[in-house]
Amino acid sequence: VAKKHTWYDKTSLKPERERMPRQTTRLKTLQTEEPSYGADGVDVTLIRWMLSMTPEERLQVLQQSIGSILRMQGDKAST
């Protein structure tokens, strides 16, 4: 019976980690990291981003967010 050729034939002798496609390795890495969302559905990455700033910077982010929203509302109103 002829052996069925598959895409990994040429690499089957390499150690498992080396054979693993790059994306699979990346996926495994992500799976071992902490989840982005908590059980409550809250995006923890945003919280960590905010906590990495000083209070002054957080206030600036808030001001900029409001400014963006108001500008978009203004654009909508004028169209």
């Binding site: 809250v42 960590r48 981003w49 905010m50 906590l51 002054e56 001001q63």
Partner: protein, 167 residues
Amino acid sequence: VTRPAPDFLAIFQTLANHKVRYIVVGGVGAVLQGAPIATFDLDLVHSRDSENIRRLIAALRDLDAHYRTHTRARRVPHQSHLSSPGHQLLMTRYGPLDILGAIGTGRGFEELSAHTVELEVSAGLSVQVLDLETLIQIKEEVGGEKDLAALPILKRTLKEKRRRSQR
């Protein structure tokens, strides 16, 4: 109808110029402590002693503050309003400002001041902010739809802060 873009820093600076004693509560207080939420108004609980109210009235005059609930007649808050535990919902030249005599189950400045953190919002300008633990407690007490909606983010922020401080 004029809709000034909120400038919280300008309001803080004006209040500091008049040496007004207050505590930042609500959404802006939560953001200053790291909660990723958007809010358009600034909520403050002020000290209701007569000297502070006199300073607050002067600051509100500088801010061109008037009741935003009265769209036709431009009414301004007086000493009697600011001495009460009630909520004064104002519009200023720098955006909406809510001056609150008491929050939750009637907690005023004196009671809340034991549960604050001092945070620098600009070089040389610091404000007293209600800590996240107490803010969460009060939102649970109030139990309004808007308050309850913010709770998961506030609780998760507090958890993350605690986790960081334990490192």
